[in-house]
Amino acid sequence: MRTGLGITLVTLLTLCGFVATPLPAAQADVVDVLGLWSGGELRDFQDVVSPWEQKTGHTMAFVSTRDLNAVLTTRLEAGDPPEVAILPNPGFMHELAEGGKLVAVDTILGMNRIKRDYTRAWLELGSYQGKLHAIFYKASSKGTIWYSPKNFKTKGYSLPKTWKEMMALSDAIVSQGGTPFVIGAESGAATGWPLTDWIEIILLNQAGPEIYDKWVDHEISWTAPAIRRAFETLGRIVHTRKYVYGGSAGVLATNFINGTYVLYTTPPGAYMNYLGGFAQGFIKKQYPNLRPGEDYAFFPFPIIEPRYAGGVTGGADVIVLTKDTPGARSFIQYLSTATAQEIWAKKGGFIASNKSVKLDAYPDAIAQQMALQLANAKIFRFDGSDLMPAKVNDSFWKATVEYVNNPAGLDKILQSVEEVATEAYEK
């Protein structure tokens, strides 16, 4: 009796399984898109896509996941890839291109227009073996230190232009009983990335772009003096008593989104917060009444080494084609245009990678300022950890976390990243 029931159940389940398996897209008009966006970001993206849906008759089916690498890997291995994937970093894109999982988009998009609309830096980053494999979409500057102009004014603080000035300002804040910085490094499974952003921008401004590039390509060791110095420079902040909100434990236990709120409490929990341009989105959502430019604003990362003044790092989402269908072609073609990018730019929280997008498309002064910062950067480099193999990236996240917790172990920590990197770059 029980066996019979079991068989019935198994049969039922199998049947359901067969029924539930999506049929292969016979018509190309549903474009399956896999990405990280959800909530507000996804709504904004849907608004970007609607005009395309109306015009072409295709529709987008967006699948949102927080664990994109895992889901995409599984679907690729199972032979059931989505048409389009929106990756958070080019490192993963290069790994996929190497594995032959991506469709080159150069002929699809038409390189003449693309070369007119995008700077060379973006195109080079999106190419594999000389062919364009990706479009960079939602860019963000990572050269922004957020602060409250109102709080600075009340206390009579002026904006620091150099690292030294920033340290002097910090001492002044501490002597008046305040806390200079808040750093939120907690981000669930990706804990540590806000700290790697710190290391990257310090390295770029301290050791210069040449060393930075060598470091990204692993042509210099992780134990090199320049890398060590970048870590120690960050250590100057996280390990100085009263410099950070909650001390070093506070750095690791504070969520990066919650960290941005700390500046705007009364009395302020801290005065400065280094985090990418996307922080504006968090601030706006939590405190809709704060006025950009008056209640919150950012100043550019201070000069460490005058030779390398104005070094800015930044990131962007990467759109790749994982399956070649007419709908998918038309989709990526549309997203690469200035028209499509302007729609999101107007909503805020979005810096266009397409340089034909006009400055007045941005909704406020802060967003314009960020777009300008990216466009006019004297030295621009992509977020380094995002360019590294996943393994090295993960190990880098971990290393910064370990370093905050245990500054004395720096040599050993860097050595262990070096070991992972040596292996990962071997091939």
Partner: protein
Amino acid sequence: MKGGVSIFKKGGLIPWLYMGSALFFLTVYLIYPILDTAYISFLGKDSKEFTGLDNYWYIFTNTDMVGALKNNLLWLVLFTSITVSLGVIIAVLTDRVRYEAAAKAMIFLPMAISFVAASVIWRFMFEFRPAGVPQIGLMNAILSYLPGFKPIAWLVNTKVNNFALIGVGIWVWTGFCTVILSAGLKGIPVEILEAARIDGASEWQLFWRIILPMMRTTILVVATTMVIIVLKVFDIVYVMTNGNLGTEVIANRMYKEMFHFREFGRASAIAVILLLAIIPVMAVNIRRFQEQEAIR
């Protein structure tokens, strides 16, 4: 030949027909994947070249992996011993009160929550705010009433983070142990207990000399089940710390190797080791279970 015919005559084919579908699914969904995983574990990153025992060598020499193995051991000892002993204690104590059902339901309740949800809840419980700011995490909020209070970053402080995670596991699983052990306890004939009481045994003696020995097989089954569960522990670590700051465990490591680093060989090798570690426990578990059935 003759034997074959007689089996057929006894209707020997019918059971095979019934078992056939089950066997088919077992082979396709269990045996084949196991063999394939074992095979892949001897191949390189993208399963193309044969690399011998390299992947296994990596598991036992890589610092992160060794750390994960050590943590699994810590989980094994603490999680198993505490869930089972708490289970016994609660089963015995609730047996003597009128609101037994309500009490057991309370303790069993966490089992109804998915582990991911439980982990998210506990992240709030362990929430850290610097001293001087109102604590929103329950653990630190309770501590804040103590004199000389300093908030503890539960998931960050390497002295406590592993214990914090194990605590969550215990919170989830104690209910399961309690329910099974309580059933075992009810199986002890009242006559024996009565007889012992008449002979003048104290309740303490009753517990150690009669209840515990008679629950032995149940306790063993529950303990081995807990061992199997703890060896596979993943969700709690993945959600709460992702193995940062010395909290890594092997299952989480396997997930990372597989899905983030795309190291199929290493991930498979970890899976094989996990399987090999679980098999003996599983065997004990099944044997004890059969013994227990036989007693009934």
